[in-house]
């Protein structure tokens, strides 16, 4: 499955702001989080408090990621 992964703010210190990924055996948001934690264990704390959007909708851990999805890692907001 191919997806595009976007990373923002402090997460850009661990992942490129935009990258294309080919994933095997990853079906849900939760699977993706585990995969990313495996890549960058130092980002664990930040990934755990971040939200994930799939095609610009905030997703739950159990939500499915589908072929071609645009997935974004959203650290806690700090606008305003």
């Amino acid at each position: 499955m191919k997806i595009q992964l976007l990373s923002f703010a402090a997460l850009k210190e661990f992942f490129p702001s935009k990258q294309d990924l080919s994933l095997e055996g990853i079906n849900t948001v939760s699977d993706l989080k585990s995969y990313l934690l495996g890549l960058k264990p130092d980002a664990e704390k930040l990934i755990k408090i971040s939200r994930i959007s799939v095609n610009q909708t905030i997703a739950k851990d159990s939500d499915l990621i589908t072929e071609g999805a645009i997935v974004a890692l959203l650290p806690p907001s700090s606008g305003g």
Binding site: L6, A9, I49, S77, G80
Partner: protein, 144 residues
């Protein structure tokens, strides 16, 4: 440039110079979020904001729509600036208008609180010693 978005811009924000021309509007509340010179005891020189602009714009539009559903408003808008901002620059404006002040105040607070906590916008603070840090933001629900 993100200027194609209604609620997100890289342009300098100016305060509105006049009220929306709505004859039934008896109360109007303007909130401006301003870049201040100190964060957690450290002297700030400037900030940078970034956003997931497509999503942030859509989420702010939804928050405004929700405010119209919760209160009997005549007017509500919100715009957030991105990019490099200096001290005293306006980062965000929320303006609300209603027949009476109470609803304008409540809706304004509701909009800015949700924008701060939910909308994918991030702040990086730059300090006098040359260091910089992404603001930790708010991972939990609480009042502040």
């Amino acid at each position: 440039m993100d200027t194609k978005y209604k609620h997100i811009t890289e342009e300098k924000l100016d305060l509105p110079s006049q009220f929306p021309p709505l004859p039934s509007m008896g109360g109007y509340v303007l909130f401006a979020g301003i870049v201040r010179d100190i964060n957690e005891g450290r002297q700030v020189t400037h900030l940078e904001y970034e956003a997931y602009s497509e999503m942030a714009n859509q989420m702010i539009a939804t928050i405004i729509k929700d405010a119209f559903q919760n209160w009997d408003l005549e007017f509500a808008d919100c715009i957030h600036r991105l990019g490099k901002l200096g001290l005293g620059d306006v980062a965000v404006i929320v303006n609300t208008g209603a027949v009476h002040r109470d609803e304008a105040y409540k809706a304004n607070r509701y909009i800015i609180d949700r924008v701060k906590h939910e909308v994918p916008i991030w702040k990086k603070e730059y300090y006098v010693d040359g260091s910089s840090e992404w603001s930790k933001g708010c991972a939990h629900d609480h009042q502040h």
